[in-house]
């Protein structure tokens, strides 16, 4: 039975908006020009490729369903499990169900801790027991392990090379058709970065992703590539599941705050007078409370509401989802003030320009002017703010979950992973893989977001764009 959680619905809505605005922009050359500049940025396009990989994983994880219960003898099978799963769970079934007893190191075949077991002859011994799933297909782990791992890595690499070549061939073929040149010429142009869109960056990033992902995927079938955590869950599975939470927090939060920030900022700047005073008072008040404390206070209160109304939610996944959504809205409410102030200031400037004065002289209504003339001219600020906020929100989620005011403890996220693993470095011997995996994935996601947002800002910020034109002019003069 498919099930649409609230955050799923908003994610799909966001994608629909994205596709819609894609079509809208595609038909308008003046809007397309700025996006072309984004496409020229090599760092930006490499980052976008990484982000796209994350987004695909996140989307797969957003298709939720409740599996049908197995028919119990004597009863017709008509019930659905109360457990909510996603398409990603179904893909990663061996990882999800392959839980061990406790910690095991990456690619290990034995547990990380000694256990007392009874030997066949009746005596007891302290040994590292074999894992139930990791390397269970090996007869003699000591002998076969190295050969099996390298064989699997080689197979993964071969598959990655094949997939990479396919992608490259498609790109080269498309380029060759477009320019009407042969394959070698098209390949040379792409490799040297002579294309307008940074195809070489995209292909190179894709190659790196495939070369890393191929072996991991090949190994994941037989081993726990990133080890297992305290309760024996596969760490690779946890990190992949964390991606959706990070993406949801980074995107839905801005979606939640945008209407407030845009509407209030423009109205305050355009109308002025007492409306401006009220809106300014509103955001100064909200702004004056330190962010973490306001979030803490709101989250604590939301927790009380959710806990005192257990009947609102059919499954625990729905409860966790409601908490995630509420967290997004709380983060949104506490973070719209900055954008609102920027938009107000920009609107104050635009209000005095000739074309707005002309519209006023023609008798256009205030709402019409704000919607038709001011909004399109502040959209670049909105866009820059949205992409710049994303990385900060992903990082904030980890910190908030650590403090205990983030997502529901049952939601898998980078924050909850770090929170449960916080004492593992103090153990003897050290358990490092959960923390390293969570931090590494989070770093890649945030770095990609930062690089992409820089590319977008450089392309859309008129101050920077203006500086670049001046620089080119200077270069030509010299």
């Amino acid at each position: 039975m498919p099930i649409i959680l609230w955050t799923d619905a908003l994610v799909f809505l966001l994608i629909a908006c994205g596709i819609g605005s894609g079509f809208y922009i595609g038909r308008r050359e003046y809007l397309l020009a700025s996006w072309r500049r984004v496409g020229e940025s090599r760092a930006g396009m490499a980052a976008l490729t990484v982000l796209a990989a994350f987004i695909v994983l996140g989307l797969l994880d957003s298709l939720h369903y409740r599996p049908r219960l197995e028919a119990v003898a004597g009863q017709p099978a008509n019930g659905y499990s109360s457990e909510v799963r996603s398409a990603l769970d179904a893909l990663l079934l061996p990882l999800r169900s392959g839980t061990e007893k406790t910690y095991s190191a990456p690619l290990a075949t034995h547990l990380y801790a000694r256990e007392t077991v009874e030997l066949p002859d009746g005596t007891q011994a302290r040994v590292f027991p074999r894992l139930r799933h990791g390397g269970a297909h090996l007869q003699d782990p000591v002998e076969e392990w190295a050969r099996d791992v390298s064989w699997k890595v080689a197979r993964g690499l071969a598959f990655a090379v094949l997939a990479g070549l396919t992608f490259a061939a498609i790109a080269v073929q498309a380029a060759a058709l477009r320019w009407g040149v042969g394959w070698p010429a098209a390949w040379r142009r792409i490799r040297r970065g002579e294309t307008q869109f940074a195809w070489n960056a995209v292909l190179a990033t894709l190659a790196v992703l495939l070369l890393l992902g191929g072996p991991v995927a090949a190994l994941a079938g037989g081993y726990h590539v990133f080890g297992t955590d305290k309760v024996g869950q596969d760490v690779l599975y946890l990190t992949l599941k964390s991606i959706r939470t990070g993406l949801v927090i980074g995107t839905i939060t801005t979606l939640a705050m945008l209407p407030f920030a845009v509407a209030l900022g423009i109205v305050a700047g355009y109308l002025g007078g007492w409306v401006d005073d009220v809106i300014q008072y509103l955001y100064t008040t909200l702004n004056s409370i330190p962010g973490v404390l306001l979030i803490a206070a709101s989250v604590l209160m939301m927790q009380v509401v959710i806990d005192t109304h257990p009947d609102w939610f059919a499954t625990s996944a729905q409860r966790a989802d409601a908490r995630l959504l509420a967290l997004c809205f709380i983060l949104g409410v506490t973070s719209w003030t900055g954008l609102c102030r920027l938009l107000r200031a920009e609107t104050l400037k635009l209000r005095e320009l000739d074309y707005v004065q002309a519209a006023q002289a023609f008798g256009a209504s205030a709402t019409g002017i704000m919607g038709r003339h001011i909004l399109p001219n502040v959209m670049h600020i909105v866009l820059i703010a949205v992409v710049m906020d994303f990385s900060g929100l992903v990082l904030a989620e980890a910190v908030l979950s650590y403090i205990g005011i983030g997502v529901d403890p049952s939601t898998i996220s980078f924050g909850t992973m770090i929170n449960t693993a916080r004492l593992e470095l103090a153990r003897e011997p050290v358990v490092w893989w959960s923390l390293v995996a969570a931090f590494a994935f989070m770093f890649v996601l945030v770095l990609a977001a930062n690089l992409f947002s820089d590319a977008v800002r450089d392309a859309f910020d008129p101050r920077i764009a203006g500086r670049r034109i001046a620089a080119t002019a200077q270069g030509q003069a010299a």
Partner: protein
Amino acid sequence: MLAYIVRRLLYALPILIGVNLLTFTLFFVVNTPDDMARMQLGIKRVTPEAIQKWKAERGYDQPLLYNEAAEGAGKVTRTIFFEKSVKLFVFDFGRADDGRDIGHEIKTRMGPSLAIAVPVFLLGLFVTVSFALVLAFFRATYLDFWGVVACVAMMSISSLFYIIGGQYLVSKIWHLVPISGYAGGLDAARFLILPVLISMVAGIGSSTRWYRTIFLEEIGKDYVRTARAKGLSEMAVLFRHVLKNAMIPILTGVVVVIPLLFMGSLLVESFFGIPGLGSYTIDAINAQDFAVVRAMVFIGSVLYIVGLLLTDLSYTLVDPRVRLQ
């Protein structure tokens, strides 16, 4: 000047009233004291008597806004709103759930918080401004390019990683300083050096990049060209002209956080076991001690408003064109 300060403080009053109303709504209207009692005592199996007792112990057993039962002025004063919210204005915070006086607790915990926050602030400002000046000096070279790359990479690392990694490396592997704890007097330095270093490093990336942008913006202006045309060395241009003129945008971001230093850093204090206001807040959040959270929200907003005022005053110090009236 004095008149300006007084007027600004009067402007702050409606904002503080707004903050107060907001917290009051959040803590007492969204959830009634009954809800909170049930939450604290466990959702199931809780008797009405236990709830009454919980509320009476904390003074939540009064009406929200208007007390019918009381006499005279008591109709207004013997209410939750007056007892819990209005009294914040005279910095009377009441008692925490463990019965301790919040005001006293805040006074004693301020010291350790400042002992971390002030060195972090000063050292961090010095280091990031110097780095940014170096990058601006070597602008459009490989040093500048890789410097910015390093900044973006450092910005993308979670602050939790700096703390956990730093603690592991310096304290556990190298045994240079104790992992956590705090002591009074000069002995504190031993415990403070690592948290100070870590918080400083965690902030380097974003601040350096931000200051670099400010410096580059200033470098493009006409007065810099004039200074160079006079034959000044690049060093003199940077320090005597660019740095001075970049002070305004730098101060805008910097001065406002000075008062907030009292609040301490939530993460660092809790990881290093430093008994400051940050760890106090985290403990209160984990114990769901609403009285403490409410007090900290109020103090935080008071300090923020003081910071805004200080920012405006600092402009007059660095820019003689600014006149306050």
